[in-house]
Assembly symmetry: C2
Homo-oligomer: 306 residues x 2
């Protein structure tokens, strides 16, 4: 099972509207859930997306603006009421623990799990989480406060066994795990059957890059080069390019230009300013630069691997 899905919980900008919630996403890698940003009401969208809170162990906060983290308190309280156990790690700027810990201590006293903070340095690109399925790296971004994006790199999966060849060589069941992982098979008579005869290559690993909030910056290109999916903020349209510079945000066209330069598979844009009633204006501008662009919406599921 190699599921890799992105669930968009909120894709509005700082000022919530009746249409869009503040930023939050959940990346599902092989049924482990990773939350990226946690805007207000993320917990309700989480349930609406039919995601399982017990599978959520890591929350990555891009930067300490309220529309990216005010949902943490409610989410963590509800996880406590729901009997979540073990540990939840919040990967965020070092200020996060100082700010949030007193509130969590006060309001989530009876929480049956540990809340741990992992202080990350938004200005450096480094691996901040890794397990057998995925590595998460920071992508330094340019915003009004220290901000980073996140690159989710799936680990290469096992090779696929060829049932016909295993039967042909009478490979016993207990050897199969090792063969999936690339080992040759040594038959009882000492014959070596090369792994390539018994297996097919693993499904290619996928990569997902999340870049929000940020102004246009070509410095991110090395990190997002060739990713399968790029989520890039597109707060503004061409009409507000000047404003995008003063507020350290991007236009849809700029996001798409980066997607094209980085040869990504697909671009998802979001973080729409509340000034746009119909985001198709933003989509059209982006698609002039990069055709494979889609608009994010609350409840959207982007399936990289089913």
């Amino acid at each position: 099972m190699s599921r890799f899905e992105i669930n968009i919980l909120g894709c509005g900008a700082a000022k919530p509207t009746l249409k869009h919630l503040p930023t939050s996403q959940v990346v599902n890698v092989r049924d482990k859930l990773f939350m990226v940003d946690c805007g207000e009401n993320a917990q309700v969208s989480f349930c609406r997306a039919r995601l399982n809170m017990n599978r959520l162990g890591h929350i990555f906060i891009s930067h300490l603006h309220g529309d990216h983290c005010f949902g943490l308190f409610g989410l963590l309280s509800t996880m406590g009421l729901s009997g979540h156990t073990g540990e939840v790690v919040i990967h965020a700027h070092p200020d996060a623990e100082k700010l949030f810990r007193p509130l969590l201590d006060y309001f989530c006293r009876e929480t049956p799990f540990e809340i741990r903070f992992n202080a990350i340095s938004p200005s450096s690109a480094e691996a901040i989480y890794t397990d057998r399925s995925v590595t998460v790296r920071t992508i330094p971004l340019k915003h009004r406060v220290p901000t980073c994006g996140f690159l989710f790199e799936e680990a290469e999966g096992d090779r696929h066994l060829r049932g016909d060849m295993l039967d042909f060589y009478h490979v016993p069941t207990y050897c199969r795990t090792a063969i999936k992982q690339g080992e040759d098979y040594v038959a009882p008579d000492g014959t070596v059957v090369r792994n390539e005869l018994l297996t097919l290559p693993p499904t290619p690993a996928v990569r997902y890059a999340y870049c929000s909030d940020t102004m246009y910056s070509e410095r991110i290109l090395p990190y997002i080069e060739g990713v399968d999916v790029l989520y890039h903020e597109a707060t503004y349209g061409d009409d507000a390019e000047a404003m995008s510079r003063t507020t350290f945000h991007s236009t849809a066209r700029q996001a798409a230009r980066l997607a094209r330069m980085a040869s990504v598979g697909k671009l998802i844009i979001g973080h729409y300013s509340s000034r746009y009633r119909d985001e198709n204006v933003l989509l059209a501008q982006a698609q002039e630069e990069f055709a494979h662009t889609q608009l994010a919406y609350e409840g959207m599921k982007v399936v990289l691997k089913p």
Copy 2:
């Protein structure tokens, strides 16, 4: 204009559901808005109810459980983005300022209005706010943490002028404000026209009592006696009466019993546990005790004076 309305923004219990938001209400007294509790996402429900943020100056927090205050950060941030000026006063337990101030200082740095905390003592019944239109008093409640309800007492309005009598006595326009406020009219020749001849009594003032969260307690009866509308929590039904005691909550039947004993005009119940899919169970049990009971719902507007 003597408007007095209650807007229900959220009436769920601690664990939000896809149907109910955590607790928040807005009391509109003569177009001044008073928020009572501020659960997560209150700001969005506030906009959905077409209320004007610029008219919100006071927020009353019944107790420091997350489902009654986690919406404050987002609401205050958005009020800043919306150009709210002047002052917002948060009336809450003394711990509130210590807990919330560091976050507000960090996240709402550029807020163009003052945020002031008024420390209230939930265990005593006292007037904590008063202006020409309304007085707000605390009602001590019994919950797991220090908690109070709030009693909104409308100030008596002006007397109603009788146009026919003003014409008859040739009362000049500049005297009318004083007459509305109860003064007699002294004609140029020294004749005194008694106020009762010129006016009709003011529309009776209304009172609204909010009691959530609390276990059943007859001690609140003197405070809620005869109010026009009582909002009382009804977290549980008869099936969970034992649980209502251990969690310091009430059943719908208990809420209705208090409403009957206090001879209130109307009872609104809310703060439903997520265990009830259909709150009509709770309504039926309450109505066995007190017929004039209604279920709260998100978006409900209770009009005491139009």
